[in-house]
Amino acid sequence: MTWQTGWHVATVVGARPLTDTARELTLAVPGFGGALPGQHVDVRLTAPDGYQATRAYSLATAGVDERVDLVVDEVPDGEVSPYLTHDARPGDQVEVRGPLGGYFVWHDDDPAPVLLVAGGSGVVPFLAMLRARRLSGRRAPFRLVCSVRGPAGAIGRDEIDSPDPGLDVRWVYTREVPPGWPTSPARITPDDLAAPGFGPAEGTDVFVCGPTRFVETAAELLTGLGHPSARVRTERFGGA
């Protein structure tokens, strides 16, 4: 007997390009439910010869049962992301396991201020948190700091820049800035992360998501600003 724990059949029902390299995919997943903002799923592909590859992706939306929204940024030479960003078409089937992970989660009844720090496609779980916050009607103060190479690669920029009371957004452009931007491209600094109302004294919950090196740099800056490491939750992702 083969024991397959928790895998659901998922059917692609929508695909929409977000940037030159990233795509939002919507999957219909009977039996999937109860996801919290910040959680992820495992996606498994099976080749005709039986070879399987599994990767973890953050959910871009939480709380909609039987549906999974993913944002996938292509990792060149990856085993899974090129299929999801280029080839997957409505009607295609993959497998999904989850929702997974109760640690990197924002609970909408938590009134503490929240500081979100994203590197590149690390913004995806934060889209789920922003969407959940808007839906809940609660107004915990949120500050989102997004570090991206340039404006063309900024996932979800229109949504993030839409006015949202109590949400404060800061963009950090590391390679190329938009026309008329007041500063030159630069890496993230303590000034980007320090803001009135979002310091350690206010009991701020801090979430950092991005590639490993970005997360380690940002986490170090945050603890340098006095945030206790126990309140700095990190989620690092690798390639694939």
Partner: protein
């Protein structure tokens, strides 16, 4: 930080594979390092993934806490450096 096995990740990266072994959310389980005594939730450990599974290390002393192998006949966990693993509080 990268190694030949790929970048360092967090314990959350193994949530799916460990769900084949434990009936609870393993990332919220508490692990005690047998080497240095550091005790924290699995989500705050460091993880290297490879095609065979993952290696979980203590965030403080880097001792190997758990090795998770994704076997065709079922996931296997060995815990060479964990003094214990405790399930998260019952909901």
């Amino acid at each position: 930080m990268t190694s030949p096995d790929g970048p360092v990740l967090d314990g959350s990266a193994l949530a799916g594979l460990l769900s084949e072994v434990y009936s609870f959310d393993a990332t919220l389980a508490v692990v005690r390092c047998a080497h240095c005594g550091h005790t924290d939730v699995l989500a705050r450990t460091t993880v290297h993934l490879s095609a065979m599974g993952g290696v979980v290390r203590c965030a403080t002393c880097t001792a190997v806490l758990l090795v998770v192998v994704d076997r065709p006949d079922g996931a296997r966990v060995s815990s060479p450096g964990a003094a214990w693993v405790q399930a998260p509080p019952r909901p």
